[in-house]
Structure formats: structure tokens, C-alpha cells
């Protein structure tokens, strides 16, 4: 009996369960003692949740770009963070010009639409060009090669925008109608956060329906299932890949403006960290899977906002918010251990044996 058991359960399984169990216990213990200490009131917790939700919906929007590109090309598009940066950075100049001419204050809705249009256009163009120049010639090369060009493109774009627009921090002008609070069910909520959450959800729904229902969407899905078969069915694979990048670029541009409206600052380096987080979110949800990316993004946002206070405070760890990325990545590794294909599972044609 023992022999049988020994053959089937490996040491690594045991170690993994032990690590997982220990972390789970720590989290539970931390949560319980945090709540018992009563440091935070109910409204604090609600605030944490809303903050996390707003940040998470932006991650989710960027993550859809990652996940779609991964779906069709099976590569990490390292430059996607820079696509995200390029739109709002350019949009800043439009916003400032409109602010100077008082257009922004007199016609805020029109102004915001213009900013979105400019930013989404720039992001889309950058995404399209990156694919065309850096990835397309390498179709069929081993998978690490486009990874390096992606890294190269990322550096190039960062320092291109630094060179063009300067290395300083540029702040978006205040838009009066976006400031202040709303009371929703007796909870004080920031207007901008509500707007960001709603806008992100609407955009993601549009995107999801586009992919699921339209002809082009179906063609993209076909390409991500099997390029050769799709080509045989008369689908123009290159065009579909370009379309994927265009859609991803548009989503990233929109996410970038939402981000800029919420945090007000744009900077040439601003894409790196959200890009990394969004990719993490995409993997967390199950890469190649659009609802997964959305879920992963929101999950990540919530973890970053809630987890340090909830898990670590009770354990007596000082400055827990410094560790929020560490928590996020630990969560990622844990999820991948026990669900190796992400929360919702990957949607990739798995052609193994």
C-alpha cells in the first residue's frame, strides 16, 4: 500500500500543498486578526473595494490587448505597455491646448471625446506599426526571437517618447465635471472612479461582443485556434493579426486616457508597470481568454488594494503596501500551481499528443 502511494504522490506535490497551505493559513490568520483588531470600519473596507475595482478595470482593459495578441501570435507583446503610454501622452498635449483655449471648461464632453479619439488613434497606430515592423517579419521564427524584438520595441518606444515629449512629468488639466463625489446608497464614491469603472465595463462588453459576434471577430478566433486551417478557409491571416493589434491598441489607448483622467500624470515610463501588471492579469485569468483577462485584471486590482491591509496588517507587518506587488505575484504563482491554466482556463488550441 505504501509502495503504491509512494509511486503516485511525488515530493513536489507535497511541498506544493505545504506551501499553499501555509500561505492560506497565514492569510486566514492575518485576516482574522486584522478584523478582530477593528482598525478598519466597514466604510474603510468598501473604500478599499472600490479603489481596487477602479484600478482593476484599467488593468483589465490593457490585459485584453495582451491576451488577444497572445491568442493569435502566442507571444508576450512586451511593447503593449508602451502602446498604452503613447496614447495618453500624446493626448496630454491636446488636453492642454484645449484647456488653454477654455474649450475644455466650456465643452467638457466634446473635449474628453477628442482626447479619447486622439489617444486611441495614436495607440492604435503604434500597435499596428510595431506589429508590422517588429513582429511580422519573424512569423515562424522560434518563439524567443519575437520576445526580444518586443523588448527592443518597448525600449525604443519609451525613449522615443522621452526624446519627443521630454522626460518630465506632465499633468493632465483638471476637468471640473469629473471632480467630486456621488453618494450611491449612502456610500461616498468618487465620480471619476465610477466613470472609469463604467467606461471600462462598457468598452470590454463592446470588445467581447465584437470578438464573439462579428465576422471579423470570428475570423480572429479562427486564426488563434489554428492559423493554417484559418488560411485554408480563406481568412487573410496577416490582416486578422493586424486587426488584433489594432483592437488591442484601441483598448490600450482608451485605458490610457482613463488612467490619465484618474491619476492625472503622464510620463514616458508610465507604461512599464501597468503593462507588467496587465500581463500578469491576463495570465491570472487564463491567457488567450478575453473574459479571463477581464476577471484577472479586476482580481489583481482588488488584491492590490485589499490584500495588504487585510492579510498583512494583522500579522504585524509594517508598511504592508510596499509589499502589494509581492502579494500580487505570490497570488499569481499560487493560482498557477493549483490551476495551471489560470482562473478561467486558457483558450488555446492545445495540440499535445
Amino acid at each position: 500500500m505504501f509502495q503504491k502511494w509512494k509511486d503516485r504522490v511525488t515530493i513536489t506535490d507535497i511541498v506544493m500543498w505545504m506551501i499553499g497551505g501555509t500561505l492560506l493559513l497565514l492569510c486566514l490568520w492575518g485576516s482574522v486578526s486584522t478584523i478582530r483588531a477593528g482598525l478598519y470600519t466597514k466604510s474603510h473596507w468598501i473604500d478599499f473595494l472600490i479603489f481596487g475595482l477602479a484600478q482593476g478595470s484599467i488593468y483589465a482593459l490593457i490585459a485584453t490587448g495582451y491576451t488577444m495578441v497572445y491568442g493569435v501570435l502566442k507571444m508576450i507583446n512586451f511593447a503593449h505597455g508602451e502602446v498604452f503610454m503613447s496614447g495618453p501622452f500624446t493626448g496630454y498635449f491636446v488636453a492642454t491646448a484645449m484647456w488653454r483655449s477654455d474649450f475644455l471648461d466650456n465643452h467638457p464632453i466634446m473635449a474628453i471625446i477628442t482626447i479619447f479619439a486622439v489617444a486611441m488613434f495614436v495607440s492604435t497606430m503604434i500597435a499596428f506599426l510595431v506589429e508590422k515592423i517588429a513582429y511580422r517579419p519573424l512569423r515562424g521564427a522560434p518563439r524567443l526571437i519575437p520576445l526580444i524584438t518586443a523588448i527592443g520595441a518597448s525600449f525604443f518606444l519609451q525613449y522615443l517618447f522621452k526624446g519627443l515629449y521630454g522626460s518630465g512629468i506632465n499633468a493632465y488639466p483638471d476637468i471640473e465635471i469629473l471632480n467630486g463625489f456621488w453618494m450611491i446608497f449612502g456610500i461616498r464614491v468618487l465620480k471619476i472612479q465610477v466613470i472609469v469603472i463604467i467606461a471600462a465595463i462598457v468598452l470590454m462588453l463592446v470588445l467581447y461582443n465584437f470578438i464573439m459576434l462579428t465576422r471579423v471577430g470570428k475570423a480572429i478566433r479562427a486564426v488563434s485556434e489554428d492559423k493554417e486551417a484559418a488560411a485554408l478557409m480563406g481568412i487573410n491571416v496577416d490582416a486578422m493579426i493586424s486587426t488584433t493589434f489594432i483592437i488591442g491598441g484601441m483598448a490600450a489607448g482608451a485605458a490610457g486616457v482613463l488612467y490619465a483622467l484618474m491619476f492625472k500624470q503622464v510620463h514616458f515610463f508610465m507604461g512599464f508597470l501597468p503593462g507588467l501588471k496587465a500581463f500578469t492579469a491576463a495570465v491570472l485569468g487564463g491567457i488567450g481568454n478575453i473574459p479571463g483577462a477581464m476577471l484577472g485584471g479586476i482580481f489583481l486590482g482588488l488584491i492590490e488594494s485589499v490584500a495588504p491591509a487585510l492579510f498583512l496588517d494583522g500579522l504585524g507587518i509594517i508598511a504592508p503596501y510596499q509589499l502589494k506587488d509581492a502579494i500580487a505575484f505570490t497570488m499569481l504563482v499560487m493560482v498557477l500551481i493549483f490551476r495551471p491554466t489560470g482562473i478561467l482556463g486558457e483558450r488555446l488550441a492545445s495540440k499535445k499528443a
Binding site: L39, S43, I169, A171, R188, K264, Q265, E304
Partner: protein, 402 residues
Amino acid sequence: MKNVLKVFVAVCFLLSVAAMPAVAGNVVKLQKGEPVHLAYWFVTSGANTSLGMDTFRGVEIAIEDFGGKLKGHPIKLTGQDEMCGPEGGQAAASKIASDPSVIASIGSNCSSAAKPGVPILWKMGIPNVSPSNTAPFLTDPASGPDFDGYLRTCHNDKIQGAVAAEFAFTKLGLKKAATIHDGSVYAEQLQQVFADTFTKLGGTITSQEAVSPGDTDMRPVLTKIASGKPEFIYLPMFIAESGHVTRQCKEVAGLEKVALMSADGSFSPDFLKAAGKAVIGMYHSSPDFSALGDSYGKFLEKHKAKYGISPEAPFHAHAYDAAMLILNAIDKVAVVSGDTLEIDREALVKAMYATKGMKGLTGTITCDEHGDCADPKIAVYKTSEADLKAGLMPTVPFWKKY
């Protein structure tokens, strides 16, 4: 094949011999037309680029203001990227030290780069002035003779953190404070000095929080701070992070009325943009500009004309002063003999250390025997609505201790 090898070996040998450095003399002799060579080592890539670009521009404007020439010799400025870290600092310093024509250097931006870099420079007899290393150990006598050629025109963090604590406790009469830092060497040290002093004075630190550089969503950590109900938050970080905290503080329940204070790391017009309206009523500690506001204004004008933008980070004025300090000292010790200009390195260092009462942008520059040259007159400023409208940081101190 063998022949090729032989040739190859011979060429290598010749090259190596050619590369053998001779011992540099203690006196630099410049022929007619040869430039006075200064080197800078600032951070010019990565997330802290704006700090490096800014200090670099400060130096460039200083050289222009000096006239671009020193006793008929042009002034040449070359530079390295210290990458805000020890490895970058070491490489940058090695590059500067390997060029015997370098007379003095300005840098580094980050204290962590200065630590391994400064001794390398000093071994070659190159004195160094930093515009932005605020870490105390660099001018601490205990750090040994390796740092004997090191001076700085920015203040020591020990002073600034303590001033902030005294201000909060005695002037504002607040007893409960919280701090936030971003894990940078600079901010971490400042908030620690603040916390220590504040506790010593009798106050309570409700929490010492930290964020990561590049973080944008500060609301969760502010909510955590709010749970301790502080009356005062000290956030001595750089523009981006301080800006986020300042803006978002007003949006977090329980912190609407709390007093905020930052340090010179974010004392810049850009901070007004970054923080927006939330900046009204906020405090900053910074060197006392009040007597010299005029020359600083002129500096800003020149900057705008030359680079198309305003300074983007703190310490550009310190960099200006650092360059001026060096140029003045060289001017003092350089001897014209016939066609050549002779600069004695030892005399130069002495002259630099002997700088007294130099009118700089950041105050009156006087060096002590450890190399701290900054005017330690740290004043506290309060930003008003008028300042925000004008787009400039306040120039009149709100409070000063001296």
C-alpha cells in the same frame, strides 16, 4: 595561419603598450586652446531620468553664465550615466577617472552611485561636487579618506528631516503624524529622521508607510493611514509619488483636513501641476530662496528659453551652484604662464573646500571641513492659491527656525 597569429599577437602587444597609462601629474597643463575639462555623472536613463536631465541643464546654464571660458580656455563638459545605482556609479566614475584631462567632476545624483564612485575619482585626484546626494554618510568623517575630495551643494538629510519634525510639532502644534516613503534611499532616510525627531519631541507616529516607485493608486495606503487618525502626514518623495499622494489625500475619507508636508524632492513648479488644487495649503521644506529669488527667476527664464521647458525635478539650482563652485575655485588657482594654463589639483581641492560666502541660487554657499557646502537654512513654505495660479512655488518662507 601561424603568421596571422604572430601578427595578431604583435598587434595586441602594441595596442596594450600604447594603452599603458602613465602616471598623471599633479599639475594639469593646458596648451593654448585646450579646454578646461569638467565631467558630470548624472542619471540619464531609467525612471529617474528627469532628475539627471535637470541637474545637467543646471550645469550647462552655469557654464554659460560663467561665460563659457575660463582664462581664455573654453570649458568642456562631458558626461556619464550613473544609472542611479552603485554599478552605474562605479562604471561612470571609472570612465571619468580614466581620462587624465578631467579636472573636476559634478555628480552623482543618487547617493547609492556616489558610494562606490567617489573613491575611484579621488584616487585619481579628481575632486567631486554633488548637487543632489543627501545621504549623511558621504560627508561623515567616519567614512574615511576615500571621501576627502567630496563636496556637496545640497544639504544633509539629517537637517531637513529634523526641521520638518520641529515645524510640525512646535509651530503647528500637532501631536500625531504619519509618514510615507517610496523606498528610495532619499525618502526613506528623511522620513526616518523625521520620525525619530518627532518622537523625541514628544509626538506620536501613527504609522510609517511605504509605496513603490511608479505606484499611482495611493488611495488604499492612504485609507490605511486614515485609520490611525493622524493630524499630519510627511511625504518626502519625488514629484510623481508626492503628487499622487497629495491629490488623493483629499479623496480619502478622514484625511480631508490633515496637514501635508513634503521636502525639496518635490519643491518644483511641476509639482503644482502634478498635485493640482490639492496643493493649496501644503507645506514644503526647502532651502531658503527668499534672499535670492531674483537670480533664481532669471535662471528659470534662461532654462525655458534654452530647453523649451521648465525644470522638471529638484536640484537643478544645486547643480548650478556646484558648477559655479568648481569654476570659481579653478579660476582662483589656475595660473597663466605664457601660453599654458596650469592647474594644481591639490590647490584646487583646497580652494574648493575654502569656498566661503559664494552667492548661489540656493543660498550662500560656504563649505565646512567635511565638504558640506549647502546653506543649511531650511525654511518651510506654504503653497497658496496665488502660487498655484502663477505656476510657481512660493518664494517667501512660511516659517524658519533661525
